[in-house]
């Protein structure tokens, strides 16, 4: 299925833009993480990042639905 991804902060740099569409072979969110790491090896460094779907954090076992948006929000520290 096609998954919409929105990336903030350094995640935007790693995936090369704010919005991205991934074609994943299944519904589990963990597949998105795997695909991101295989396409963008630097994403491995954000291994500790929790994924949000729509407006909530979810576990990697979450089953994605059509039109779900996966949101990547890494910490930023500037002040």
């Amino acid at each position: 299925m096609k998954v919409k991804i929105t990336a903030f902060g350094i995640a935007k740099d790693i995936v090369g833009g704010k919005h991205l569409e991934l074609e994943v072979n299944g519904q589990e969110l963990s597949l998105v993480r795997k695909d991101l790491i295989s396409q963008f090896p630097d994403f491995e460094k954000l291994a500790s990042l929790k994924f949000a779907v729509n407006t909530n954090y979810v576990d990697d076992s979450y089953q994605l639905n059509e039109n779900d948006e996966v949101v990547l929000i890494p910490p930023v520290s500037g002040g």
Partner: protein, 377 residues
């Protein structure tokens, strides 16, 4: 409240939700602001203008030229002056009735509890991840609410942590939002990643807004929510944050009962004690004596701004070009502030290097302590 106060605060007193009682609450309140930088400037200005009775300012730094693009509380004549002190002097002119407490040393695990304890609310405008976890944990342990904000390039985040809820419990905190810090190079500071000058103005004003709401007790706080703003496309995003039962400080089985070493915590797997360090003074002595093997892991453009003549191998190339690094003598690794070179050493140690020393504070420390004529960035 005297006649002058009624006039000074008139425009907010006449708002029904705010009123004279809201103003009195602000006057009776105390707030500790961590960092008098990009975020700190608007936070301090608005809290002072609004009439918060007592304001603590924590900043060990001095005003520098590269601050002025965004830290609009300061001006060119003030370069080199203490930020906390200068801020308090200027804000006293804005509102002479406020008590300002100036703290010119860095907040750390040893002093944080004592610093925060006397205040009703903490507003965190610090500029690094270890301080963010430190302030979060100290606020949780002291049961103080915390207004959080952070910025990067065009983006800002705002939230309110540990806010008292109507049922008497406390709202989620920073560790519910970010349980595990990513490696340091994934969390660049403003000096590493850059920031648009108006962004801290926007985000800092939002933080002041949450602080005032919290103190007055009006509206709905950003408690349990992370607000994200992107100035580049003007998009906003609100993420729900829930209390995590596994949170090591506020969860069901807390393991953090006092403040820890936050630098080490944020370096993750890097065992700091396994990396030898050298100060800029020691490096200078060695350079004066003769040959020192020096490797600079910054990017080309940074090297062009200022360098110490070291061999340039950017961090992301240290592994592929490790054959260019001698193994048979001591090699000093350097970067801008010491974080990336530490990372490089960590990576190379896994490849068998045992001869690498980190330059503490990087070229920034060199510029500050050895050669002030060198271009800073």
């Amino acid at each position: 409240m005297n006649k002058d106060d009624l006039l000074r605060y008139n425009r907010q007193i006449i708002i029904p939700e705010f009123g004279e009682s809201g103003q009195q609450k602000l006057i009776d309140s105390s707030v500790l602001v961590i960092g008098a930088g990009g975020l700190g400037a608007p936070i301090l200005q608005y809290l002072s203008a609004a009439g918060v009775g007592r304001i603590g300012i924590v900043d060990f730094d001095e005003v520098s030229l590269s601050n002025l693009q965004r830290q609009v509380l300061f001006n060119t004549k003030e370069i080199g002056q203490s930020k906390a002190k200068t801020a308090s002097e200027k804000l006293s002119l804005l509102n002479p009735s406020i008590q300002f407490d100036v703290y010119e040393s860095p907040i750390n695990s040893l002093n944080a509890m004592k610093l925060i304890e006397p205040y009703d609310l903490v507003v965190d405008g610090s500029d690094n991840l270890p301080t963010r976890y430190l302030v979060n944990d100290a606020c949780f342990l002291l049961q103080k609410p915390l207004v959080y904000g952070a910025i990067f390039r065009f983006e800002g985040q705002v939230s309110v942590f540990n806010a008292l809820k109507t049922d008497g419990s406390r709202g989620p905190n920073y560790r519910d939002l970010f349980p595990t810090p990513p490696p340091p190079e994934m969390v660049p500071s403003c000096s590493e990643g850059g920031v648009l000058g108006v962004l801290p103005g926007i985000i800092g004003s939002m933080m002041a807004n949450e602080a005032i709401k919290l103190l007055v007790g009006m509206g709905e706080l950003l408690s349990g929510k992370l607000f994200v703003f992107d100035a580049l496309d003007f998009s906003t995003f609100k993420l729900n944050i829930e209390a995590n039962p596994d949170n090591p400080i506020s969860g069901q089985h807390p393991t953090i009962k006092e403040l820890i070493d936050y630098e080490a915590f944020c370096m993750g797997a890097v065992k700091q004690e396994s990396i030898k360090e050298i100060s800029v003074q020691e490096l200078k002595e060695r350079l004066d004596k003769g040959a020192v093997e020096l490797i600079d892991v910054r990017e080309d453009y940074e090297y062009e701004i200022a360098n110490l003549g070291g061999k340039l191998i950017p961090l992301n190339k240290v592994l592929s070009r490790s054959n260019e690094i001698p193994k048979d003598k001591e090699v000093v690794m350097m970067c801008k502030m010491g974080g990336r070179s530490k990372k490089a050493i960590e990576l190379l140690q896994k490849e068998g290097f045992e001869n690498l020393i980190n330059l503490k504070g990087g070229i920034t420390a060199w510029q500050q302590e050895i050669d002030s004529s060198m271009k800073a960035y």
